[in-house]
Amino acid sequence: AGTSARADEGVAKGDTSGKKIAFSNSYAGNSFRQVMIKSFEKIAAEAQKDGEIAGSTVVSSNNSVTEQAAQIQNLVLQGYDAITVLAGSDTALNGAIKDACEAGVVVVAFASGVTEPCAYVVDYNLDSYAKAELDFIAGKLGDKPANILEIRGMAGDGFDKRLHEGVEKAMADHPNYKSVGEVYGQWTATVAQKEVSGILPSLPDVDAVLTQGGDGYGAAQAFKAAGRDLPIIVMGNRQDELELWKQQHEASGYETFSLGATPSVSQVAFWVAQQILAGKDVPKFVEVPLLQIHQDDLDAWLETVPEGGVVNADYSQELVAKIIDANAGKTPLPAIPAPN
């Protein structure tokens, strides 16, 4: 692919000091989203102080897609130049997003698979999410037969479906692995714990648990309560998960792997929007790297996470510009470095 130096590589310096960027969030009812909002507010405030933008706002709808669509329309009316959107639905906002594009507003949808073609999408590659999970498991268990329990998110949701499809593809590479159960944990520890506890008595030995984030700790609690040994539970970068992992590792050498989105993906979206306004040529799809934590980095990451919080890392304008360039140039994404 094109590895030659591109004209617009690096941070675009167009003047955006008069521009306003908004964040339309579909739901604020869990700590991940709360951190996501805080991350956005933090970076937007800094950018405003540095004269990069003129203003910003955050609006959250209470898990109501129609309300979010209305809010996007209001943001257009309020004269925002760019709207970053964490969409409550992959498709239901298409009408509102299209209206916004037509009104000349830059729309950057992130952490959601918005299908409206006029929007820029900042997202993870969920196939590689699932592949990383299974690759780790295969690294531990080899290719001998193993029982896998999958904890999914919410029925009818786009993210859930795309990640599950990734799991199915990845599972096809490991024919000896058997999916013994599938429960819906609503990305909520309490629900995951309840659902796993319910199904566990009827399951044979479980060797590994696939998760979607926010559900690993609940699953571990369920295994503990049932008096079973902890299988490999792929964690989702929550502090309580990492803490548990660390304790188990110290007690019995337990090893697992953690990956997931960072709440600060809202900052990526923010800088992408800003860079578009600044005149940078941004591809319609910008893949963001997932944050992966391995045994070696565990302690370092754990240091940085507040008690009960989510692993997070700030994205600077330069880093985001690099991510954009890597996407444009189809080169490997810059990894998020472990703290040291």
Partner: protein, 321 residues
């Protein structure tokens, strides 16, 4: 005859007041919110602005009217939002390419709603639990039809929802039409009197020779029909289907009915009030984005707006419902 014609001074005032609070109060709230929005952003006061502000209120208007019919019978429908979601899925999957299949499914679903009315009546079941169970059924069907958001709305539907009619923006035309039609059927027509009577005192209506069973079945079916309209409009606006698109409609619809002067005791509903109530509630969410309330207080402010609007009824000395 002084004993019969004893004066009761309060009464002559109370009734128009009650009627007024049903429609006037949400209307007043709506105007105040609009005033605030226009004050913050004068540019919103335009054909385009009105369209954007009220576009997404229209499916809610129809969903609220569907809820209103059920509340009119003294029941409540907790499946309303899930049903609208199901309709968007059916529409996004079938309506463009196999319109006849889609219509057949709509008819079947409306019949199912009637069947639920039948079941509730025959077995004297609490509607709140039956419709709670029903909401799982609708959601399950929706997920079976469309496992993840997607599909596409037929072009004619998106063209309709994007249409710019003369004089007033489309949302206002639709809201006015819905309010007038429902007002005529429920509040003015001869059959409307029987329906409201059946909600308040089914025994009396039964004793007058009506079948309350037939009434309940048809009102539930009519509610299903309005739900289909809401789902269709929502599909047109969002150009796609999503099983989880509208769970909020259930409680918003109930709120709109109450805001519009309805009561859970059955028989007391106001279609015009409900339509205005739905638009008020839809706008309350928008108002917050204009006011730039801090994110952690946005949800709470919606609660306070609800209190403010409804507290007006107390100030006007309205009776509790």
């Amino acid at each position: 005859m002084a004993d019969i014609a004893a004066p009761r001074p309060s009464r002559s005032l109370a009734v128009p007041l009650r009627r007024w609070t049903g429609v006037g109060l949400p209307a007043l709230a709506l105007l105040i919110m609009l005033a605030v929005i226009f004050w913050i952003r004068p540019a919103a006061m335009s054909y385009f602005g009105f369209t954007l502000l009220f576009k997404l209120a229209i499916p809610l208007v129809f969903a609220a009217l569907a809820q209103m019919l059920v509340v009119m019978l003294g029941d409540i429908d907790l499946a309303n939002g899930a049903f609208v979601g199901l309709i968007t899925c059916v529409s996004a999957v079938y309506l463009a390419d196999q319109p006849l299949v889609a219509v057949a499914i709509y008819v079947l679903l409306i019949a199912c709603y009637g069947g639920v009315g039948l079941l509730i009546h025959m077995r004297q079941l609490p509607s709140i639990v039956v419709t709670l169970g029903l909401s799982f059924i609708w959601l399950g069907l929706a997920v079976m039809i469309l496992p993840a958001p997607g599909g596409h709305a037929p072009a004619w539907l998106t063209a309709f929802t994007g249409w710019r009619p003369p004089l007033l923006p489309l949302p206002l035309w639709l809201a006015a039409a819905a309010a007038l039609a429902a007002h005529f059927v429920v509040s003015r027509s001869a059959i409307g009197a029987v329906l409201r009577g059946a909600g308040a005192n089914p025994r009396a209506v039964e004793r007058s020779g009506w079948s309350v069973l037939a009434i309940r079945v048809s009102v539930y079916a009519a509610s299903g029909f309005l739900g289909v309209l809401a789902g269709l409009l929502l599909t047109g606006l969002t150009t796609s289907g999503d099983a989880n698109i509208a769970p909020a409609y259930t409680l918003l619809g109930v709120g709109a009915v109450i805001l519009g002067g309805g009561a859970f005791t059955g028989g007391i509903v106001s279609p015009v009030g409900t339509v205005i109530g739905a638009m008020t509630l839809a706008l309350a969410g928008s108002l917050l984005s204009f006011l730039e309330v801090p994110p952690t207080w946005q949800i709470g402010s919606q609660g306070f707006i609800l209190f403010l609007v409804l507290a007006g009824r107390v100030l006007l000395g309205d009776k509790p419902s």
